[in-house]
């Protein structure tokens, strides 16, 4: 079991590599292998979390060299949890995608699942890696697969994908530049070694400059407010089967990487740390307001959710900007929670579109009569977005607010309140559409009977699981926070 972290990335990789070859044998063989591998990864990641909690952080060095020379996977409780989140969303959205690959040849089907597995792999790798350049490679894997999955979404998708490609490459370049600056003053690529080297020397200006590049790089990748331009259209027009994964998990991983840089590599000894945090705080506050305001004006549920992601990412980076242990824990709780909320909402929207082929909010009128379960689950997801207890959205907000109160930054509390009120405006608009407003003439895509007709089971399982996770994370949030705090204790302010 000493190779546990390696297996987690190798399983999806191998399945992805062989998926195309296997698809030549049977159209769905590659897909099944990918699904199995993702499930395997999920199981292994849970095992990994248990081991990390029991035995402390795992440092796995590829090639068996000493620590600054080889590439290291360093797994602590935080990224073990995030890996579980990513794998889980990966499995669910893979299952969800089963319904959207009906008309494609073996190459397309196999290729799409290849991309799917590799996207999961990229995110998992980005989370676990302890090497700054390795992070870049995983970042590129994530980006390239995302370009492809977005481009598969149709006519608008290709343009969105191209724009994302340009912006994403700029981000990757900036990241590389930041890494270059850090490497030029430390001479190492290993994160822990780099942290040690940075503490010794007097490199504050270099670090500041690198940090600016890193913030813009990760900001672009996670769609933080001034860098979010690519995001709404990309989330909106991505391939339906992959949209929950892209929207749910993809923005969170760069956020985690940013946390890594801010707190694990730079640390509070950095001279300009306060200023950097202030900058992040200001942009996240702007993002929280801006995203919500833009989301209110949208008529397409995908756009609503995409803009709300801009706001919700702001919550996460706000937690980083506050920096007290509770706020950081809250940010991570929100990261987990939001992944499931957004995933669940996109799954639910996907269920509706599977039946009626529409994402327009005006076509959602009283859809609860036909799909009461989907509607109910959608409502729970939306309530969690607003932050109504006992869903996870409330508790992450609670920790963020508590953290802000601990450091006496009361402005942040009121921004949180304001943002969740703005969230309420457009999510209750959605709920109102689903439950209250009159029917529009929808036409079902598939033949259906009278009365309640839900989407097929492979769509419903992801929806139900995500919403269940929201509630479970909400009710048992203290367990999660305790697990997170094990690793946060050392690094937080």
């Amino acid at each position: 079991m000493k190779n546990l972290p390696a297996y987690i990335v190798l399983l999806p990789l191998c399945s992805a590599l062989l998926s195309l070859a296997l698809s030549k044998i049977h159209k769905h063989l590659g897909r099944d292998v990918v699904f199995g591998a993702l499930v395997g990864s999920l199981v292994l990641s849970v095992v990994q979390l248990v081991r990390v909690i029991q035995n402390g952080p795992i440092h796995y060095i590829f090639g068996g060299y000493k620590i600054p020379y080889g590439i290291e996977f360093s797994v602590d409780t935080i990224n073990a949890v995030i890996v579980i989140m990513v794998c889980m969303l990966g499995v669910l959205s893979c299952m969800f995608a089963f319904n959207f690959d009906k008309n494609g040849d073996a190459l397309q089907v196999g290729g799409a699942y290849t991309m799917h597995a590799l996207l999961v792999l990229g995110m998992v790798g980005m989370t676990m890696t302890g090497d700054v350049f390795n992070l870049y490679v995983f970042l590129e894997i994530t980006s390239l697969t995302a370009y492809c999955l977005i481009a598969m979404g149709g006519s608008r998708g290709i343009v969105s994908a191209f724009r994302y490609l340009l912006v994403g490459t700029v981000a990757a370049t900036f990241y590389l530049l930041g890494v270059g600056i850090l490497y030029s003053v430390t001479g190492t690529l290993n994160m822990s070694d780099m942290a040690a080297c940075l503490k010794q020397g007097n490199n504050d200006s270099a670090m500041l400059m690198a940090m600016m590049f890193l913030i813009s790089a990760f900001g672009i990748k996670m769609a933080l407010f001034p860098f979010h331009g690519w995001q709404p259209s990309a989330y909106t027009h991505a391939h339906t089967g992959a949209r929950p994964l892209i929207a749910g998990a993809m923005g969170k991983i760069p956020a985690y990487a940013m946390f890594r840089y801010l707190y694990c590599i730079y640390g509070k000894d950095f001279k300009y740390f306060r200023y950097v945090l202030l900058i992040i705080g200001v942009i996240s506050v702007c993002g929280m307001i801006y995203g919500s305001v833009r989301a209110m004006a949208q008529k397409d549920i995908r756009k609503v959710l995409a803009y709300s992601s801009v706001a919700q990412i702001g919550y996460i980076s706000l937690g980083f900007a506050i920096g007290s242990p509770l706020a950081l824990a809250g940010a991570f709780l929100h990261m987990l929670g939001h992944a499931f909320m957004k995933g669940g909402l996109f799954f639910a929207a996907g269920a509706i579109s599977w039946k009626y082929g529409t994402f327009d909010l005006n076509d959602f009128g009283r859809i609860y009569k036909r799909m009461p379960f989907t509607a109910g689950l959608l409502t729970v997801g939306a309530l969690s977005m607003i932050g109504i207890p006992p869903t996870v959205g409330f508790f992450s907000k609670w920790y963020l607010a508590c953290g802000a109160a601990q450091t006496h930054e009361y402005v942040y509390i009121f921004v949180l309140v304001l943002s969740s009120l703005l969230n309420a405006v457009y999510f209750f608009k959605v709920i109102e559409k689903v439950f209250v407003q009159a029917d529009k003439n929808r036409k079902p895509l598939h033949p259906e009977g009278k009365g309640v007709t839900e989407a097929p089971i492979t769509i419903m399982i992801p929806v139900v699981t995500c919403i269940l996770m929201i509630l479970l994370l909400g009710v048992f949030n203290v367990k999660v926070i305790d697990i997170l705090l094990i690793s946060l204790k050392g690094v937080a302010l």
Binding site: C148, R156, V159, A161, F162, V170, G180
Partner: protein, 127 residues
């Protein structure tokens, strides 16, 4: 005169020129309205970063990092690590370019043009 220039170059000059190249690439991405050009400017930007890495890997009077029997000291070889990293970066840039070009081909087929203005115009037709 020459030595002065060289000191400036060694200290800041080359870095500055590299950064200039990088920012010109960025400027090109922002300013060009043709997606093909944006793609090429993106490539230029990536090249600039590769220069940046190779800049500080140089050593005065160092030789290329292939071990030879009569040279034994580490000082005499140029730093191989950035080279390795940049190989990866180049490969990635090729991959990105390929995907970008494929997207461009599709965009041209769908929208009939790769000018930003036409594409924004065309986007309104599709939902």
């Amino acid at each position: 005169m020459m030595t002065q220039i060289e000191t400036i170059l060694a200290g800041k000059g080359i870095y500055f020129l590299t950064l200039l190249l990088l920012t010109l690439g960025l400027y090109g991405i922002i300013v060009s309205r043709n997606y093909m050009k944006k793609l090429i400017c993106m490539n230029i930007m990536q090249v600039a970063v590769i220069f940046f890495f190779l800049c500080f890997a140089q050593k005065n009077s160092g030789t290329i990092p292939v071990a030879m029997k009569h040279i034994v000291h580490a000082v005499e070889y140029i730093n191989p690590l950035p080279h390795g990293l940049m190989l990866t970066a180049i490969v990635v840039s090729l991959g990105t370019t390929g995907v970008g070009l494929a997207l461009l081909t599709r965009i041209k087929e769908k929208y009939g043009s790769i000018e930003e203005k036409d594409i924004i115009e065309g986007e309104k037709q599709f939902r």
